[in-house]
Symmetry: C2
């Protein structure tokens, strides 16, 4: 089969690799229907995270189950499934708490399983899934092909935006600001709206993304950053800041923006992968009672809640994809995201 391999900064290739072979009784093999490129994939592409050896890449995909092991009970041959961006057993103490990302027997796409065997990554034609029941989420209702992008966002960005809103405690009547207008930030706006926020401030200066932010439910757009951005948010929130601020970038500057835009007693929900270690000013947090909650989103646990709304069209996170390419053009997919020509690229094997 063909799968994407990253060789180093700026060097992503679609290569011929061995077909996955079903191993243990809890496994499944999935034929990928759609995959995509994540902002965090760009870390290696940009050389920020080192690539020591050629490595499979891609952690967001949906597809059809082609093989299942004897002990798999929740997933059946022919199921359309959504894969969360990391694997879990669904039964350990952390999974039972809903924190699948801290699964005591978790695994990463493109990594290795407990026996040291390669686990295929998502940007390829097929994927062996070590723990099918604990990881994959089946879509049993029928749906139009046009919904595939929306279903694919449940693999990561929609669940991640939702996690920011849940972690911050967004609820009916909330005033919310969203820092970051990438795919996750845009999904965080969807999440804030469906949780009942009545004021949603998108911090964005990118024209196309701003338009989508408004379509998703943003009531205001603030283009300013830094002190001016803080002032603008306060002006829209009774002078004190937003009840909840959703940090969807992960830089020192974005975290600072988020903390300073939150009202006393409010909460920052953060899902931006901390790049370069954003600092948390403990004394300011203490004095103002601003909390910081969030982290890597346990998207597996949100699929049951979000899937029906994607299927009904109540939410349309699939709109974050602004470019679709065949898997053969994966190198162009990376380049388009790296050069900011695309917000998020969908790949079809």
């Amino acid at each position: 089969m063909r799968a994407t391999v990253i060789h180093g900064a700026g060097d992503v290739r679609l290569e011929e690799v061995p077909d996955p072979v079903l191993g243990g009784a809890r496994e499944a093999v999935v034929r990928v229907v759609a995959a995509c490129v994540c902002g965090s994939d760009l870390w290696r592409y940009r050389g920020i995270a080192p690539v020591d050896e050629p490595k499979r890449i891609g952690h967001e995909f949906v597809g059809i189950v082609e093989e299942v092991g004897a002990d798999v009970v929740d997933i059946a041959l022919g199921d359309f499934v959504i894969a969360p961006f990391s694997g879990s057993d669904g039964t350990c103490a952390n999974c039972r708490n809903g924190v699948y990302t801290s699964c005591l027997h978790g695994f990463d796409w493109g990594g290795t399983d407990a026996e040291g065997r390669l686990i295929d990554a998502g940007q390829g034609e097929r994927v062996r899934v070590p723990d099918a029941d604990g990881t994959l989420f089946p879509v049993r209702d029928s749906f139009e092909d046009a919904l595939i992008p929306g279903l694919l966002t449940l693999s990561d960005v929609m669940g991640t935006g939702h996690h920011a809103a849940i972690s911050a405690g967004v609820g009916p009547g909330s005033t919310v600001a969203v820092v970051g207008d990438g795919a996750v930030g845009l999904c965080a706006i969807i999440a804030a709206k469906r949780l009942g926020a009545t004021t949603i401030i998108a911090m964005s200066r990118h024209e196309a993304r701003t338009a989508l932010a408004r379509e998703f439910g943003a009531t205001h757009v603030v283009a300013e950053r830094g002190d001016d951005g803080v002032r603008a948010v306060r002006a829209l929130t009774g002078g004190i800041g937003a009840d909840q601020v959703l940090e969807c970038v992960g830089t020192k500057e974005s975290m600072d923006q988020a903390i300073r835009s939150t009202r006393p007693g409010g909460m920052v929900g953060y899902v931006g992968v901390p790049a370069g270690g954003p600092e948390l000013p403990i004394r300011r947090l203490f004095n103002t009672n601003v909390g910081v909650n969030g982290g890597v989103a346990s998207v597996r646990g949100y699929m049951a809640e979000l899937l029906p709304e994607v299927l009904s069209g109540a939410i349309r996170p699939g709109l974050v994809f602004d470019l679709e390419l065949p898997l053969a053009e994966v190198a162009e997919a990376y380049a388009a995201m790296d050069e900011r020509r695309a917000t998020k690229v969908l790949l079809r094997p």
Copy 2:
């Protein structure tokens, strides 16, 4: 009248000072019935925080209202009142959110008011209160003198322990660990129990405090610290850590202990005043979804909830006082706390 003045490190004196004079129409003058020394008062006593000039000190007191201004409506002459550790107007946007400590017109005991006039501090015979309605909480039910220590804890430590538990989201069935066995940590145990926690681990190695921790509701005591302390907490919590950890110290070590003792997806509720800037390891927090919430406790907002339980004897936070002295011996009160001969000292003018 007589009031306590700190002149420098280790130098606390009871001095003759001018009697407070009622100023504006929103003011009151309170005759102090009981006051106490706070762990944070020791910062100046120990020379950690500089004392540039002689200054009134003390921010926890209860007393009887002796004078009220014409516009005061909620507080009456003769009322027994509890003063929170900082003043507020009760009407600004932050007070309406329950965050009285971020009052837009707040003030500090021993500081100055909007007109630049001295505000008396708590360790004295009388206190002028600039905003009586927004600050003081009246106790209208009759009560025995023996309850005065308990009522005094609502000025700070009981409300602060409660804030740690509320900030962390303690609820029915929670597993909770408490870092710190001072007065606040002990009150946090009371708070965790009344909120429904079923496992409460006191991290303590001080015999008398451990006994009180158990009396207040601790189900387990862990004497170990550092890696051993983390291991001990995990062994008591299904191998993963506590749902909520209440950080009641404020050092780098105690915050580290708290974060590492929290299970993935759990929350640290912190109320220890950050001394020396405890660091927040953002990458660890992100990977494990451990949140950090809390800060300076808005105790004014908790009095309505906690007061009836103090009056009924359902909770007995007054037991944290293990030494009572006349105000004339305030210097000994500081020395006893500084030398750890006392957990918390009550002063009677």
